[in-house]
């Protein structure tokens, strides 16, 4: 190099400093010219939302939902994850009336775990319920029962579902927010969103006749109609060999559960 080391250092500092300054000025000018007006309420609204990005509201995530709330393109009660109090606060924040939300909790409509319902086949395929269900409805002796490979476990964004020891899935009601993703995921439609005001539900989906049910499961609904007779408000009826509860009529008295000979009526606590 033709220059002395002092001048090299000096030129380096000048050139690098100059480029840095140039870049800084460019960004400063750009941020003025290309600034986008962001509604401050969106940011505040995002902090009020759960941040789970589960997509139950129909938008890509909580941030998208917040934007659509502000622009009035979404009803204020689309989020099922927040509780009643938060939901009211959100509605008040954007200045609309809240129609209120009904909290729901998922329940599993099957008690046919290992030892209750035998496996009818030695299934070695993909370990997902969806794949197993494609082979003649799965490897359970009861073709209506929970397969237990845990498709719902994977889809739950709140880690509320786990695989139990008895080959069924277990729902942690304290963690469940009632988003309903598991309900859609299950190929057997095993899960039901129970309104949080209801406690009693029929924990069986088998529409087989009583004799066939008892052959494969000790805890299935055999359509004996004892619950029907026991119910003081006619909230439970047997249709297609399966008991059904009308949640609007049910008073959660639990007499049907006491009358059931196969303990196929569940109670959520």
């Amino acid at each position: 190099m033709g220059m002395g080391s002092d001048s090299v250092i000096l030129i380096s500092i000048i050139v690098l400093g100059g480029i840095g300054l140039l870049c800084g000025i460019l960004l400063m000018v750009a941020s003025k010219f290309f600034s986008v007006a962001i509604d401050e309420r969106v940011g505040e609204l995002i902090t009020m939302l759960p941040g789970a990005n589960c997509g139950v509201c129909g938008f890509a995530g909580c941030a998208q939902y917040a934007k659509n709330l502000i622009s009035g393109q979404s009803p204020a009660n689309s989020c099922k994850v927040v509780d009643q109090e938060k939901s009211m606060a959100i509605a008040a924040f954007i200045g609309v009336k809240n129609e209120g939300i009904v909290k729901e909790v998922a329940v599993l409509r099957c008690q046919g775990g290992d030892g209750v319902v035998p496996r009818s086949a030695d299934y070695t395929g993909l370990k997902t319920c969806r794949a197993a269900a494609l082979f003649f409805g799965g490897d359970k002796a009861c073709s209506y029962g929970c397969l237990g490979y845990g498709d719902c476990v994977k889809v739950c964004p709140f880690q509320a579902i786990s695989r139990g020891e008895n080959g069924l899935v277990v729902i942690n009601a304290a963690k469940c927010v009632g988003c309903g993703l598991c309900v859609k995921e299950c190929p057997k439609e095993m899960l039901l969103l129970l309104p949080s005001t209801s406690e009693v539900y029929v924990a069986c989906l088998s529409k087989d006749r009583g004799k066939k049910v008892t052959q494969v499961c000790k805890k299935g609904c055999i359509a004996c109609r004892k619950c029907e007779k026991a119910c003081p408000v006619q909230a439970i009826v047997v249709e297609d060999n399966l008991a059904k509860i009308d949640f609007l009529k049910c008073t959660n008295c639990g007499l049907c559960g006491e009358a059931c000979p196969t303990e196929s009526i569940g109670r959520r606590y």
Partner: protein
């Protein structure tokens, strides 16, 4: 013309940035879970690599070479690329919110990515002209897109495979990457005489 074609195919296939030079592995493994996101990432990388090549070429030959400051290339390139990406993001947010929604989250991720810096440094090391530089940058991004799309499709299929617990996720992804790299080594020596 012939040289440009050679540069293009060599950077896409033979000297693929991810599979032969092992640059840009973090976005390659980070955003290859599903093919839709992988394609967006690939497009963002292609855009940034092309533009960064051009911008840094000008800075190199107009600011560094005249003052014999070539040794400052790495730090200057980082500065220039970071500024450029920030600038593009601002312009995008103002002019095209839809495009920003699609590519926006990927841009900050690749601001100082080694593949982007790598392509700029390789351009000046090889002494490419402006056109050759542009082709090299674009081809590099295209090669990245090809690699990340292949990877995303493989990983989507891996989801349904019975993989041992300890190999799930990144371990098996790295093994697959090495196999992909092996297959790309097959292109080695394509253009040698």
């Amino acid at each position: 013309m012939e040289k440009i074609i050679v540069i293009f195919f060599s950077v896409v296939l033979i000297n693929n940035f991810v599979l032969s030079r092992f640059l840009g592995l973090c976005p390659f493994l980070g955003v290859s879970r599903e093919s839709g996101a992988a394609l967006s990432m690939g497009l963002a990388v292609t855009f940034v690599m092309t533009m960064a090549s051009i911008v840094t070429w000008f800075f190199y030959y107009f600011f560094l070479v005249p003052y014999q400051l070539e040794f400052l290339q790495t730090i200057v390139f980082i500065l220039v690329i970071a500024t450029f990406v920030q600038f593009v993001e601002m312009v995008m947010a103002k002019t095209s919110p839809a495009l920003q929604e699609a590519l926006g989250i990927y841009l900050p991720l690749i601001t100082t990515n080694c593949a982007v810096l790598g392509v700029s440094l390789l351009n000046v090391r090889e002494g490419y002209s402006l056109i050759e530089t542009t082709v090299n940058g674009f081809g590099g991004g295209l090669g990245f897109t090809v690699a990340i799309l292949l990877m995303a499709n493989i990983r989507e299929r891996l989801e349904f495979c019975d993989i041992p617990e300890c190999m799930k996720g990144f371990p098996i992804s790295f093994i697959v990457t090495s196999m992909l790299a092996f297959s790309f080594f097959g292109f080695q020596g394509f253009f040698s005489k």
